[in-house]
């Protein structure tokens, strides 16, 4: 039986490790920092599941419909159906392992979240990620004590070990000792988003650099839908990053407005009477940009939370209030706060099928590093769900391979690895190593894009790529950046989080497809791949 190596110890990695251990399998849980420091602990608003505990007759089918619609029909419908139909059992499982979601009796209370008409989001104040992680860490500890999970909590991914095109292991570097360790077995990547392409502009952690994605891309893994980058409408600027004001603030009654003719204009409510402030994030962010460009309007958008009840502040949003006080010196109970869109989530990433397999045998991906479930735009509350369900699915699939004798035999005959990577983790925290590329990427890959801007950025990245003083890590990051730009260029339409000023319409006939980027060792090739057709009776989406 081969080992399962899991890179990343956030929700997706922990979920994979717990799933493997539950079936009595051994796995290694490898991460730069221990789980307590993963981005997943920052998740705030909640996790979606059609538990129907609020008397609204909610169903997994409606969750499916909302997810497909929110993602503008770019997600794999079979995978999404798996996600939504298993969501209630996933959240019940979280309760069973002791995650203190906000409960009434034995049922989680659900709140409203963007892009969904029914209450479907289970939560714990605005620290849902933290309490889910805490319960899952304890669960993993149980298996660690049983010897099933082996933790490598200060280890950085270096490269895949390949044998005849099959992934048979992974090399990691111990950050404490700088030693390289070669680990055999199949590999599940759960290493989070590509924040290092946009230093200081994302709501996530500095640790999720995207270097794992860049490294496996370099080694031949296909990436998908890279152009879809989610701008969360309500973020604030704090030193070195964007700080999220959770969608829960609007779910509980927060309202967006801009000054128009000297008066507040609640533009979302006027333009979208049905969902108002809770339209999907791509729509809200775009509208915010549009009203800010309007001559009759001011240039600042505010989030007015002053109408939220005292009960709600105390029981549901106390931590969000504290954050505003700490970071802005403003009390949102008393005054509106200025907000603007910030980069929050990468819908694209390592290309996987519904079983979370990549194009490389022996390599799987789950969580934010993978491209799955969210299509052109992710609904709030679906990402934690996707990470947990995806990690589980990947681990089940990897277990099948781990039992395969033919695969196991490949482990013996190992290929030579690449030489020592050379870049240590320390350099990672130094934003300047990609500051130059960051500025051009920021300009080209904003909420609105166009060919000229993308081409300019491409030129800049190309000239950097041809420089000769690059470390391997820098080179791969730039290569990844180039793949994002090429994907955005290729998609000559507007859909979800990708808005092209030069192609303002959605074009289903040509582009209701997945954008695939692959590196053949010399150049990046972009193609459009058909989306799988939904199986089963309920084919209409």
């Amino acid at each position: 039986m081969s080992m399962i190596n899991i890179i990343g110890a956030g929700l997706a990695g922990l979920s994979a490790a717990i799933t493997a251990a539950e079936s009595g399998r051994k796995c290694r849980l490898i991460s730069v920092l221990p789980s307590e420091r993963a981005q997943s602990v920052m998740a705030e608003g909640g996790i979606n599941a059609a538990l129907d505990t609020m008397g609204e007759n909610d169903t997994p089918q409606e969750h499916f419909n909302d997810t497909m619609k929110g993602g503008v029909y770019l997600a794999d419908p079979n995978a999404v159906w798996g996600l939504c139909s298993h969501a209630p059992e996933t959240v019940r499982w979280l309760c069973s392992i002791g995650a203190p979601l906000y409960m009434k009796g034995k049922d989680p209370v659900l709140r409203n979240f963007g892009g969904q008409k029914k209450k479907r989001t289970a939560y714990a104040k605005s620290s849902t990620g933290k309490i889910l992680m805490n319960a899952m860490i304890d669960q993993a500890r149980k298996y660690e004590a049983e010897g099933l999970i082996e933790r490598y909590p200060h280890h950085e991914f270096s490269c895949l070990v390949m044998n005849e095109g099959v992934c048979v292991g992974v090399d990691v570097i111990d950050i404490y000792t700088h030693q390289r360790i070669s680990l055999d077995g199949c590999v599940i990547l759960a290493s989070g988003g590509m924040n290092s392409l946009f230093p200081g502009l994302t709501t996530g952690t500095t640790v999720n650099t995207g270097d794992v994605t860049a490294a496996v891309f370099f080694q031949g893994a296909e990436l998908a839908n890279l152009e879809f980058i989610q701008y969360h409408p309500t973020t604030i600027s704090i030193p070195q990053k964007r700080c999220l004001i959770s969608e829960a603030a609007r779910g509980e009654g927060g309202r967006l407005y801009i000054e128009k003719d000297g008066k507040p204009w609640y533009f979302m409510e006027e333009k979208y009477p049905e969902l108002g402030n809770l339209m999907p994030r791509d729509v809200v962010s775009r509208e915010m940009e549009i009203v800010r460009r309007d001559d009759k309007c001011g240039d600042r958008v505010y989030l007015d939370m002053t109408g939220i009840s005292e009960f709600c502040w105390k029981n549901k949003l106390s931590d969000l209030r504290q954050e505003c006080i700490d970071f802005l010196g403003l009390d949102p109970v008393k005054e509106p706060i200025e907000v603007s869109p910030g980069i929050h989530y990468f819908m694209g990433g390592i290309c996987v099928d519904e079983h979370h397999r990549t194009n490389i045998r022996g390599l799987y991906a789950a969580g934010e590093c993978a491209c799955q479930y969210h299509g052109a735009n992710r609904l709030g509350g679906n990402s934690m769900l996707g990470a947990i369900y995806g990690g589980k699915t990947a681990a089940k699939e990897a277990a099948v391979l781990a039992d395969d004798a033919e695969y196991d035999a490949k482990q013996v005959k190992r290929m030579e690895n690449e030489e020592q990577n050379g870049d240590s983790f320390v350099a990672e925290q130094d934003y300047s190593i990609n500051r130059y590329s960051a500025e051009v990427l920021k300009q080209a890959l904003g909420i609105f894009r166009n060919e000229q801007g993308l081409n300019d950025a491409l030129k800049e990245i190309d000239s950097r790529l041809s420089g000769n003083s690059l470390t391997k890590k820098q080179y791969r990051r730039l290569l990844l950046a180039k793949a994002v730009l090429l994907s955005a260029l290729e998609r000559k339409e507007s859909r979800g989080a990708h808005t092209r000023e030069d192609y303002p319409d959605r074009n289903d006939s040509e582009f209701q497809k997945t954008t695939i980027a692959v590196f053949d060792g010399k150049e990046i090739k972009i193609s459009m791949r058909d989306i799988p057709v939904k199986r089963g009776n309920d084919n209409e989406i």
């Binding site: 920092l33 221990p34 307590e36 420091r37 993963a38 981005q39 602990v41 920052m42 309760c95 069973s96 392992i97 002791g98 995650a99 203190p100 906000y102 409960m103 009434k104 009796g105 714990a124 104040k125 620290s127 933290k130 309490i131 805490n134 319960a135 304890d138 669960q139 500890r141 149980k142 660690e144 004590a145 933790r151 909590p153 200060h154 950050i175 404490y176 952690t205 500095t206 640790v207 704090i238 030193p239 070195q240 990053k241 700080c243 954050e323 700490d326 970071f327 320390v426 350099a427 925290q429 130094d430 934003y431 300047s432 500051r435």
Partner: protein, 239 residues
């Protein structure tokens, strides 16, 4: 604003520590100690106040929002999170940054806090079967889920020694949830470990409570957990 930042540096576990000073100028009003470290590390090359070119400063960070505990260090001698301590609020013209002292230094401000999870493993901090807790305990369960495992409480605690038997509040806080959620019959082992590694060694001065950067209500959790793991046994009745 101009700041002088003095950092206790150490190349690796084995080498001797030394102080090095840097000057930093920033217009950012709400710059934190973490901002200072990032700005220094983005200097090319990084030069100290004596004009010496030096290696980048090694430290850990992740969320930059007080949510992950990675950046705990001694800031002007007091344990805290670098990303939450504002430079403008620190008194005196000089700011000192040192690694936490109770944990082995890896390099500069990075320490090995592996002992925290080892201790939790020792006390059996997990659920052996499905959680069982009443809705009325939700606040306790929530509060005890918030521990960042940053280690600040251990740093300040007069009774915590990494080689000793007392595990401090970084073990008590997570245990508080499990003591509530474990079914009665399965609490025995955790209760035993709790008495041995937590209850026994604590002097209840509560310095830890004031230092906890997550603002966890340690006292309330402690009272609740002591009641379950210790007093209930002595009093022989339900509390």
């Amino acid at each position: 604003m101009k700041y002088k930042i003095k950092i206790l540096r150490q190349k690796s576990r084995k080498e001797t520590p030394y102080w090095q000073s840097f000057s930093l100028e920033t217009q950012l009003e709400n710059a934190t100690a973490a901002t200072a470290l990032s700005l220094l590390n983005s200097m090319d090359p990084l030069t100290d106040t004596d004009g010496n070119i030096s290696d980048k400063i090694i430290w850990e960070c992740s969320c930059l929002q007080k949510k992950c505990g990675a950046c705990a260090m001694l800031i002007n001698g007091r344990p805290g999170l670098a990303c939450s301590v504002r430079l403008s609020e620190l008194k005196g013209g000089e700011i000192t940054l040192q690694p936490l002292k109770k944990f082995p230094v890896i390099a500069d401000l990075m320490v090995d806090r592996g002992i925290l999870s080892e201790n939790l493993k020792t006390i059996n901090a997990w659920l052996s079967s499905d959680a069982f807790a009443s809705e009325s305990k939700n606040d306790i369960l929530y509060e005890s889920s918030r521990c960042l495992q940053c280690g600040c409480c251990l740093e300040i605690c007069p009774n915590f020694d990494p080689d000793g038997h007392f595990f401090g509040m970084a073990s008590m806080v997570p245990a508080a949830r499990l003591l509530e959620e474990l079914p009665e019959k399965e609490k025995t082992e955790l209760k035993k470990q709790y008495r041995r590694h937590i209850f026994g060694g604590c002097g209840k001065s509560l310095s830890c409570r004031h230092i906890c950067p997550a603002g966890i209500d340690i006292e309330e959790l402690l009272v609740n957990s002591n009641a379950i793991a210790v007093w209930k046994r002595f009093l022989g009745r339900k509390i």
